[in-house]
Amino acid sequence: MKKRVVLPPYIFWLVTFVLVPMSLVVYFAFTDKNGNFSLSNLNDVFLYSNVFLRSIWLGFIATSFCFLIGYPTAYIISRVNIKCRKFLIAMIMLPMWTNFLLKTYAWMTILEERGFVSCFFQFLGIGKFSLINTSSAVVFGMVYNFITYMILPIYSVLIRNDRHLVEAAQDLGANQLKIFLKVTFPLSLPGVIAGIAMVFVPSVSTFVLSKMLGGGKDLLIGDIIDMQFLGSVYNPCLGSAISLVLMILVFICSGIMNQFVKREERTVIAL
């Protein structure tokens, strides 16, 4: 009886503010400036294919770094005692609670030409070393901003794992490396996949980072979309087309990830 009263407002909300806007993106992607159906916008998207490739490439590098740093961190945190663990998790969450722009701004200072990092390298005698306005700075910003999203899912999976499985493997004569490769790592895969998805999607679609850290030289997809809507070249149709492609890319990614996780779960259950 209750559901009749309770749900319609929410469904209405979802339709107006989630589904309708998304279909508007699709609609604008397929129309030209006069409102006629056209495919030219989607054609134009290919002009930006190098931007797409660059974004995906930078996102890929950032995700790999996040994984390489994040997995050992999550692993170590899941091993220490509870008090230590709580403290470490709080330390990792802390940057998440500060505004993302402020963090990036702080890094601008540190990476800049006369900043901390370059002074440090000068001190070591390597010479002047400026990171700001390069793509490495952008990747660095991505890694720094999104690594929490890699550590937390992996940590939460690792912590839930059954310790007895590791002990069983030890009893059966596996060494530490083998235990890790054959027991711990496969069991933590769902967390790894969730982490990868949570880092990759925002890295690919980010748009302030490249402006602030990259000096606006290497444009990313986000910057192009921003330019089409609020920037100098006002062309919402093309902007929508680019966003549509981005949206589809992300959906394909998350679809593959989902498939993968489900299969993992199934094999775990089957075992």
Binding site: K3, Y10, P21, T109, G115, V208, S240, S254
Partner: protein, 242 residues
């Protein structure tokens, strides 16, 4: 952060200790106004999102499996979508409606609407697990004892799922405060804190930003400590009860 106390404008050289930037921060009307806007939007959006989301979560669980799946995946859409796509799709909607009807001019109202939209999934997804844990008999018992469905929900169910509701609300609040991308596209001329930081960092380097970040950092740190403290207190209470 340390440099917020530095008296020179440089971010590298340390010339002396001063509170001057804090003073000028509090005299900067633009920043104060945007802080005001941010807090107002975050409060309204998170409260509305909490109310709508909680009720919706209760409704969703009453549906059969198929519809549950459909609605939940639509709920998750704003989380899966890149933020920038959320932002521009909402902007297109508001511009479109504005062109057709003249309502929904971009401003604080559209900002709140879009913030509610991307806060909702957090609330719904943190309330639903709590509702699943609930024994369905409690609600029925309350009905048998003569409650109307509404008061039964309010007095019995809501009390049980409160932790989930509060977590969802806090999450919505922090997400809303922290948001830049969506506000950037849907806020029109209204400045939130993130947007004014963005434009400040574009224009020139002012130590006011350092002062501001110190203050924000300290306030979130205090908030976190309070939350942790309350949690450990509750744990102690629970242990005593047992």
């Amino acid at each position: 952060m340390i440099f917020s106390f530095n008296s020179s404008k440089s971010r590298i050289l340390w010339t002396g200790f001063t509170f001057e930037w804090y003073k000028s921060l509090f005299e900067d009307k633009e920043i104060l106004k945007s802080l005001n806007n941010t807090l107002f939007v975050a409060f309204t959006a998170s409260i509305f999102a909490t109310i709508i989301g909680t009720i919706a979560a209760a409704g969703i669980l009453k549906l059969n499996k198929y519809y549950q799946k459909v609605i939940l995946s639509v709920t998750r859409l704003p989380l899966i979508n890149p933020e920038i796509v959320n932002g521009i799709s909402l902007m297109l909607l508001f511009v479109f409606i504005h062109k057709k009807t003249g309502f929904f001019e971009q401003g604080i109202f559209t900002l709140i609407l879009s913030h509610i939209t991307f806060c909702l999934p957090y609330v719904v997804l943190s309330v639903i697990p709590k509702l699943r844990q609930l024994t369905p008999n409690i609600y029925e018992a309350a009905l048998d004892l003569g409650c109307t469905p509404f008061s039964a929900f309010l007095k019995v169910v809501l009390r049980e799922i409160m932790p989930g509701v509060v977590t969802g609300g806090i999450m919505a609040f922090t997400v809303s405060i922290d948001d830049f991308v969506v506000s950037y596209f849907t806020g029109g001329a209204v400045q939130t804190l993130s947007i004014s930081i963005y434009s400040m960092s574009k224009r020139s380097i002012s130590p006011k930003i350092n002062a501001l970040s110190t203050l924000l950092f300290l306030s979130t740190l205090i908030l976190l400590i309070i939350i942790n403290f309350r949690e450990s207190k509750e744990n102690i209470k629970k242990k005593e009860l047992i």
